[in-house]
Structure formats: C-alpha cells, structure tokens
C-alpha cells in the first residue's frame, strides 16, 4: 500500500502538501452536479448486459484505444474473480473481515474520545447477549444519521469486495448486529439495528454510485489520483480497498452498472421563513443551500438493478446545520404499458428532517406507479403515486401539554450517547404520497410533492402520529443554468394520544422559500 502511494507521490509531489480533501458531502454534491458534464457521453454509451461472462484465467483483453497517456498498459490480464474488467475481485471472507475491522475502528475511536460505552469486555458481550435487544435513548442525529452512515461503511465493505447489492445488504446486517452486541457496553438496540441496516443500504449504494461517478478510471497520473481521492472521501471503504489492491491505478473501463442512463441536478441557495401555530412567520429568514440530484431515469425502463435510478435531496441550513436528507432508490422497475408511459416501481427510501421546529426520520419501502404525458412538443408532465410500509419512523415526542419541540439535553454519556430521556418517539407505520412535475425543454417549471406518513409509537409517548408534508415549487429560468424559484411548504402533524380521553392534537408549520437555482433537470 505504502509503495503504491509512494508511486503517486513521485508522480505528483504536491498532492499531499496541498489542501486536504474536502468534506465528503461537498464532493458528493460536486460529483453529482459536475458529473453532469459527462452526462451526454454517459447517455450515449450503450450499456451491455449486467452479467458479463468471466473469461478463463489469464485471458488477455486488449486495452481500448481511447486510453490516454503513456502509462496505459497494452493489455490487461482479467482476473477470473472479477465480474468485469473494472470490477473489484469477489472476496466474501475479506468483506466480513473488513466489516469487523470497521467495528474495531469505530470502537477505538469511541474509546479515544472517552466514551463510557466503549469500555467493552467479554463480560459486557455476554451481558448484551443475555439481555437481547431494547430501544435506546440516544440523540436524534446520532440515531437517524450517525447509524445509517456507519451502516453505509459495512455495505461498502461488501461492494468494495465484489459483492452484489443484496449480498452487501446482508453484510450490512452482519456489521450492524455485531456492533450492537459487541461494539458497545450499552444494550443492543433494536432501533439502531434497523436504522444501521436499512439506512446503511440506502446511503451505502448512493455513496458507492456517487464514488463511481467521481472516479475517472481511464485517466492516469495526478488527475487519476485526485479522482480516486475524491471518490475515497465519498466512499472511504471502496476507496481504501482500491488503493490497497492497486485498482486505483489500473486503467480500465468503469463497471457498466455504475454508468447512469442520465444524470442531472439542481442546487438552490436562498432564504426560508417558517412559522407554527403558536408563532407567525419569523421576520428574519434562515439561509439554506439545497441540492437535488437525479441519478438515472426512474420514470422509464425495465429495471432489475437496484439503485440504477435514485433521487437525492440534501439541505444545509434552514433551521439547523443539516436539516434535510432524502434518498429514494429504485429497487425494481417495470413498464406497465407498451410505450412505457405507465411505470411500476419498488422504491426504498431514507428520510431525515431536522430543524428548529420539528424533527422526523424514517426508513420505508414503497410501491409506486408513475405516468408520463407530453402536454406539448416542449412541455412534459410526470406524476408518481406511491404507498408502502414504514419499517421504522421517528418523530418528536410531544407529551400532552407540550406544544414546542423539546430541546435535547446535553448527552449524559457524551457524543450523543444518552441515558435518557429521549425526545422523540419510535414506531413502524405506513406512508403514501405523490410527486408531480412539469418540465419545459427539459427544465423543471413546477414541482408538487406530498407525503402522508402514519407512525404508531411503540416507544415514547403512546400515540398514533399522522404526519403530512406538502411542498410546491415554481421555477423560472433566468440565463443559462441560472434560475429563480419560490416554494411554499406545509408540515402538518396530528397525534392521536392513547390516553383516557383519546386526545387529538394538531400542530402545523408553514414555510416559504425564495431562492436562486443552478443546474437543470
């Protein structure tokens, strides 16, 4: 590994003397938005069938003539363990070992930070195994973002070692379960197990594919190194594996399954104003930066490759430093009509909303039907309706008599690990929603979004929560990729308390936004 880095250092001595790699999120946004530049090329590439036959050992594959630079090898010997030329070799045992290694790394990091739950011993392992799973009391951010992010690392230990999507999902569950029982002194947590596994799969495949967008496997030298470092920042496990195995310097084609059929994104920067039933809109707005990225085309095509199409939304600011994350990845797609105007999909979703007025998060699986219709030669209309199961949802605890989102107390055990009380409820439920969009010349003009979610609280304040979230965006192009937009949003919550009086309480939070946009769909 050191030798390979040494080769890079010789090739580009200023690389590690310069600025450190940017935050993964910035790279991911950059990768998705700037990857737009390669969209046209990607769209034109005919995608070969997914299951590339593996040739016998030692077969020589001629390098393509498009390889640039004098470092390109004349021929590449294909490893029989690889599903394709640019794919990682399949190593099941290594993926499980690396998953355990990730747990060790997290455990050591917690220990160094002085976290009491990191003082594990064989005795705590045995106690946890005897105890079984319980609900934990950690902070909202730790449970709804921290654990899914950790799960993404397990997932990519599978992907980086040549495992498929569903195989890597099993690796994620393995990593999550072993962490819960053996990685901490506190009791294994049911909500962590679900959030780490399902959230890890969603974020993991999204990060993995984003990493492949950033990675330029035909480049050499410094350009190649930076593309690999950028991808490593987004998907550290795959990146580290590629540097360790030497794949980071091999000139190959990208695996075809990681070349999207289309790629686009919109970044919006502006100000939002939020109100609630107890207060009108705030005079001073909250600045925000929002990114919508569209990978692949979820509206069309027969799909059996999970996440060949996904939608990502992230918002920074607007009530908290990181206030929204949504990922909707297609697991399955099937046209219902001959022309493909009607489409059936199965979608996995990850949702996180956290601002100064309310917090909610969920992991869900939905069945969706979408319809596309041309309104004119230049204008298109697309509508999607879905319904499904929320495996686990979280929403602020608002006991009777409380009308404002409670402030989370300073964690009693540090780093978001709390001994309680917890200020949000957990439970399974169901959801349904619709998304409608009108585009003109390929640019989004009108966007309507509605989701209704029911959460039956199993841990926390005993109630049945019904959450409704509506948003309408109007967008106008200004010049080139620049545009202007305004949106109105409404978050409505109705809680049916299971008290003697069967109390019903409603809470609502309207929201207005004005923003500038860059990019297009």
């Amino acid at each position: 590994m050191r030798d390979r880095f040494g080769q890079y250092l010789q090739a580009s001595p200023t690389v590690f003397g310069g600025r450190p790699a940017c935050f993964f999120s910035i790279l991911m946004i950059g990768g998705l938005l700037l990857g737009d530049a390669r969209r046209s090329a990607a769209q034109e590439i005919p995608i070969p069938p997914q299951e590339t036959p593996i040739p016998s050992e030692g077969t020589l594959i001629p390098a393509q003539e498009t390889v640039q630079g004098d470092q390109a090898p004349a021929a590449i010997a294909r490893d029989p363990g690889r599903a394709c030329e640019g794919c990682p070799p399949r190593r099941v045992g290594t993926s499980l070992l690396q998953t355990t290694g990730i747990n060790v790394m997290y455990e050591l990091a917690n220990l160094v930070r002085g976290q009491v739950t990191a003082r594990i011993t064989p005795k705590t392992w045995w106690t946890n195994m005897q105890q079984g799973m319980v609900w934990d009391l950690d902070d909202f951010t730790v449970n709804q973002i921290g654990h899914p992010y950790q799960g993404n690392n397990y997932f990519n230990a599978g992907r980086a070692n040549g495992l498929g999507f569903y195989e890597s999902a099993a690796v994620t569950a393995f990593g999550s379960a072993t962490w819960e029982f053996f990685g901490e002194t506190n009791h294994p947590s049911l909500n962590d197990f679900i959030n780490t596994t399902l959230g890890g799969i969603t974020l993991g495949e999204m990060f993995h594919r984003t990493g492949w967008l950033i990675r330029n496997t035909r480049a050499t030298g410094k350009r190649r190194l930076w593309s690999e470092i950028g991808a490593l920042a987004v998907d550290p496990i795959t990146g580290a594996n590629r540097f360790a195995s030497g794949d980071a310097s091999r000139v190959t084609d990208k695996p075809s399954e990681f070349v999207p059929s289309s790629l686009s994104g919109v970044a919006a920067a502006g100000v939002l104003w939020r109100g609630s039933q107890s207060s009108a809109f705030t005079a001073a707005g909250d600045p925000f930066l929002e990114v919508d990225a569209y990978y692949g085309d979820a509206n069309v095509g027969r799909s059996r490759t999970p996440y060949d199409a996904f939608w990502l939304r992230m918002r920074f600011g607007g009530g908290s430093s990181f206030s929204e994350a949504r990922v909707r990845g297609r697991l399955f797609g099937q046209p219902l009509t001959k022309g493909g105007a009607l489409q059936f999909s199965v979608i996995q979703t990850y949702n996180y909303l956290n601002n100064d007025a309310y917090s909610t998060g969920s992991q869900a699986i939905d069945a969706a039907i979408g319809a596309t219709r041309a309104l004119s030669r230049r204008t298109n209309f697309w509508i999607l309706g879905w319904s499904g199961l929320t495996v686990l949802g979280a929403v602020d605890s608002l006991p009777l008599g409380v009308t404002e989102k409670p402030e989370e107390e300073e964690p009693s055990a540090g780093q978001g690990v709390s001994e309680g009380p917890r200020f949000y409820d957990y439970g399974p439920g169901s959801d349904f929603g619709t998304l409608a969009r009108i585009t003109r010349d390929g640019r989004e003009m009108l966007l309507f979004f509605y989701v209704g979610r029911q959460i039956y609280s199993l841990d926390g304040v005993r109630a049945n929560h019904f959450l409704q979230h509506t948003r309408v965006d109007l967008l106008l192009p200004l010049r080139g990729a620049l545009g202007v937009g305004a949106s109105a949003e409404y978050f409505h919550r109705r809680s049916y308390y299971q008290d003697v009086e069967s109390t019903i309480k409603t809470f609502h939070y309207p929201q207005l936004r004005a923003y500038l946009t860059w990019g297009n769909r």
Partner: protein, 199 residues
C-alpha cells in the same frame, strides 16, 4: 373404507396406464431449476422480556417453537420470502403464545458451502392468558425483527437439512396486564433448531 380404497385404486389405474403410454413420447427438456424455497422445522426457544422503566429483571422462559419459510430463490445464494415463527411458553400463571410473520432474506456467502445468514422484519402477534384484564386472553401486535444464521446440508440439492440459531425481537409498546399497562416492552426469543429445506 373398503369402498373408498377400491375407488382410489380405480382412479389410479388409468393414471398409471396413461403414464406408461405417455413416457416414451416425452422429449428430454433441459432441467429448469425450481424457484421455490420452503423451510419447515422446529426449535427450542428461550425468551426474555424487558421494559425500560420497570427496573426489574425478567426470568428466562423456555418453550417449543415451529419455524417455516416460504418464498422465492433469487439466485444460487439468495432466497427471499416469508418467515413464520410460532412459540408457546408457560409460566406459573398460565401460557402465552407468540407468532411472528416477517419478510426475510437468506444469504449464503459461499455458494458451495452451507453457511447462511438470515434477516428480516415484520409483525408479531402475542396472545396472553397470563394476568389478563378480563376473562379472555389479551391479543397484542408488535414490531418484529429476526436475524440469525446456520448451516445447510446439501445446499445445492432439491432437499436439504439446516441447523440454525435465530433471534426474534418483538417490540410490543404497552403490555396490557391485570395490574395495568407496562410501557415500552420488548421481548427477545432465541431459538436453536433444525429444519428441512425444499428448493
């Protein structure tokens, strides 16, 4: 009974005659592997309840369990389907039954080896005759999660045998008892068992 046997034999004779005639006409078709995945077996279960706020240790209880899976073989390594788990146990006051129905996926990391892991989520139904509020048992629903692993003998054949260790978790919310509701109850069920596998 005798009449029934004669009738059954009467039905079978033409069928076997047809089979003898039809056999030579059959054209050898390439065998399509079945996509069916069925598991049925039994287990010895141990369970333990827990509640966040009651501050007491609950004893381990033991009971017999039935386990079943039915579903679809996605490929040579992955099976998906439904999981049914049924367990009954007794304490000094009576008996309790729990049935869990989950969507599960089973994954064999090494195609030629029998080692597998399994995981899923769904619902559990608990029927409680112990400390009930009225004369009838209390029925309760719960969020259920399952995970575990095991070894399957003859994983490539149409019939196999698996030995497994599974953990089912049921999150009940409130448990209704004659002494009032107990809040935030979870129950863990550990099982060791064996099952036949049909593919």
């Amino acid at each position: 009974m005798k009449r029934f046997r004669i009738f059954a034999l009467g039905c079978l004779i033409p069928a076997s005659a047809w089979a003898q005639v039809a056999q030579p006409a059959q054209v050898a078709q390439p065998e399509t592997p079945s996509r069916l995945w069925i598991v049925a077996g039994g287990a010895s279960g141990t369970l333990r309840g827990f509640c966040q706020d009651c501050g007491q240790d609950f004893p381990f209880r033991h009971g017999g369990a039935l386990v079943g899976n039915a579903g679809y073989r996605v490929n040579s390594r992955i099976d998906v389907g439904a999981d049914l788990y049924w367990i009954q146990w007794r304490n000094e006051s009576g008996r309790i039954r729990a049935t869990a129905i989950e969507a599960v996926a089973q994954f064999r990391p090494w195609e030629t080896q029998g080692f597998f892991v399994k995981g899923g989520a769904g619902m559990a139904f608990v029927r409680n005759w112990v400390q009930t509020v009225g004369p009838n048992p209390d029925d309760q629903k719960a969020l259920a999660v399952v995970f575990g692993g095991g070894w399957e003998f003859n994983p490539k054949g149409p019939f196999g045998l698996q030995l497994f260790a599974m953990q089912h978790v049921g999150a009940l919310g409130d448990l209704q008892t004659a002494n009032g509701a107990i809040a935030n109850v979870t129950a863990n069920f550990w099982s060791l068992g064996a099952a036949i596998v049909i593919r």
